[in-house]
């Protein structure tokens, strides 16, 4: 497949505006500036573009809600808070192809009649911050950002806002709180950000990868875009693969590529010819899968039918040497650390789950601990403002569902039976 999102990144100067323009960069923006905002939304609708942050929400629908709100100014926020463990798919765009994102944001801003944009960038990407700031300065110098872009009377201003190490800020309402200078704690919905978002104005929050699809959609048209991938989830997808494969990394593949193909065809199979034990297919919050369940198309519609979720497309591959009790324990340490503290079931429950898993892992587990884990996770599920609590509960439930004997053995023998 021809690269759309990772086009030209092997060029060491790909982040420079002149190199970007040499391969056709910013020509889609010029085309879009000659279009009416509604025509752009129509192309995105035809393209069937879904948000790449994890939820897979139809982009044109979100945009239509924000456009219909009479309040101005409107804001376009790019979610570059890529914090879901296992996810590093947006980093190549941010570091090697920043102008693709900027072009996508200006096109989107025009479609939404939004005049201001922010890129909410995670604090752990200091290099990306410098690259983005340089790229934004170049875009201003070249009149691709500003009060009168390319002399076409369209205004769009863009700035980077650096987060400070809080996973929860990837949730859109927490991101908004953080951008406003507050603790990143999610807001209750409704009202939705499309009506009452940042500084109480209509706000669209889209992921880096989502926005980076815009230049191609405008250039090739929505119908051509919709031919890539699967009918329900068109387009290219960035999958980030880590763990025990021969060739980990970020792969741009058609949406719906099977998990087996990703691991065995593209990533060269399990490292050192070892045996596959488990896969987390979409970032740590998504349900773990055993080896017999990897013949599933990796898209937003099919993954739930196969017992997991696409999430951010972050595949973590684990071979036979891995103790899954330990992985589950480490995941819950993460959720406990990142719980924002707003909802009691999540704030307290993630700590309890971590504590019970910790004692099982260290050989101090009690006979009833698996039932206790199920009870505690059941009391978190569906009882919190945002999906962080559900994610934590679902991790525990799915590790036990597929790998219960390993948990039982840990408790019974008071030791790990996995040979590293």
């Amino acid at each position: 497949m021809e690269k759309i999102l990772l086009k030209n990144i092997e060029n060491s100067k790909s982040a420079d505006i002149s190199e970007y323009r040499k391969v056709g960069g910013y020509s889609s923006l010029l085309k879009a500036l000659a279009m009416q905002p509604k025509e752009i939304v129509e192309e995105v609708k035809k393209a069937g573009l879904r948000g790449r942050g994890g939820a897979g929400f139809p982009v044109a629908m979100k945009w239509t809600f924000a456009s219909a709100d009479p309040k101005f100014p409107k804001y376009l926020l790019c979610n570059a808070d890529e914090g879901e463990p296992g996810t590093f798919k947006d980093r190549p765009i941010l570091e090697k192809n920043p102008h693709l994102l900027i072009e996508g944001m200006v096109i989107s801003g025009h479609a939404l009649m939004a005049e201001y944009g922010f890129i909410y960038l995670r604090g752990e990407y200091p290099e990306a911050k410098n690259i983005l700031n340089r790229a934004i300065a170049q875009a201003y110098e070249n009149n691709m950002l500003g009060d009168n872009i390319a002399g076409k009377g369209v205004k769009f201003h863009l700035a980077v806002h650096q987060g400070a190490g809080a996973y929860i800020c990837g949730e859109e309402t927490a991101l908004i709180e953080s951008l406003e200078g507050d603790k990143g704690q999610p807001r209750i919905k409704p009202p939705f950000p499309v009506n009452v978002g940042v500084w109480s104005k209509p706000t669209v929050v889209n992921n880096v990868e989502t926005l980076s699809n815009l230049p191609f959609i405008i250039e090739a048209g929505g119908e051509a875009y919709a031919k890539i991938g699967t009918p329900d989830c068109p387009g290219p997808k960035l999958y980030s693969i880590s763990g025990h494969v021969e060739k980990p990394g970020v792969y741009e593949l058609p949406m719906g590529t099977s998990l087996r193909d990703i691991i065995y065809t593209h990533c060269g199979g399990i490292k050192g010819g070892k045996t596959l034990k488990a896969v987390i297919p979409g970032g740590i919050s998504t349900p773990v899968l055993p080896p017999e369940k990897i013949d599933c198309p990796m898209d937003f519609v099919n993954m739930p039918k196969h017992g997991s979720m696409l999430g951010s497309g972050a595949v973590i591959v684990m071979d036979e040497s891995v103790c899954l009790v330990k992985v589950c324990y480490r995941a819950l340490k993460f959720f406990e650390h990142e719980s924002c503290g707003k909802c009691t079931p999540c704030r307290e429950g993630t700590g309890w789950l971590r504590s019970i898993l910790g004692r099982i892992e260290s050989g101090q587990g009690d006979e009833g601990d698996i039932d206790l884990l199920m009870a505690v996770s059941g009391n978190i599920m569906g009882k919190t403002f945002c999906p962080l609590g559900d994610g934590a509960a679902s991790v525990v439930q799915n590790f036990i569902k597929h790998f219960r004997p390993e948990f039982e053995a840990h408790i019974k023998t008071k030791a790990c039976q996995v040979k590293a």
């Binding site: 879901e84 463990p85 980093r91 752990e124 400070a164 953080s178 507050d182 500084w199 891995v322 993460f334």
Partner: protein, 154 residues
Amino acid sequence: MFSEAAIKELEELRAKYPSARGALLPAIYVAQREFGHLSSEAYEAVSAALGVPKATVRGVATFYAMYKHKPMGRHVVQLCTNVSCMILGAEKLVDFLKNKYGLEPGGMTSDGRFSLVIMECIGACGTAPAMLVNDDFYENLTEKYVEEILGKYT
């Protein structure tokens, strides 16, 4: 109080946002850099610069993991131990830092050269295990490589 250069930087930051409060997170970063860590004096400086109550500045700053509330070493080693890094040996590196440099998670070497912070995923999972030293990424770490890297930071 802030240096003149920092005050100018804060004014530029302030101009990016429709309200002074929006500039709070970047202003806390500036304070951290200027004062070394977020001391009481640093909070007061941010409070005065943006007109945000000191208690609010402190409340916001303590929510985020990357703000430092105690004196740090000259170089901050930020090692990821989340799942992708863990299954490829990050925990052995934590032990190595402890044994070789006396560097405990959350601690500092006695000579003030390094601090160690355990990170929750730094987005380098494909090249795990990984760490940041100050703002520099280092990937595919081994004990030998860590030793070589740290040798560059005096």
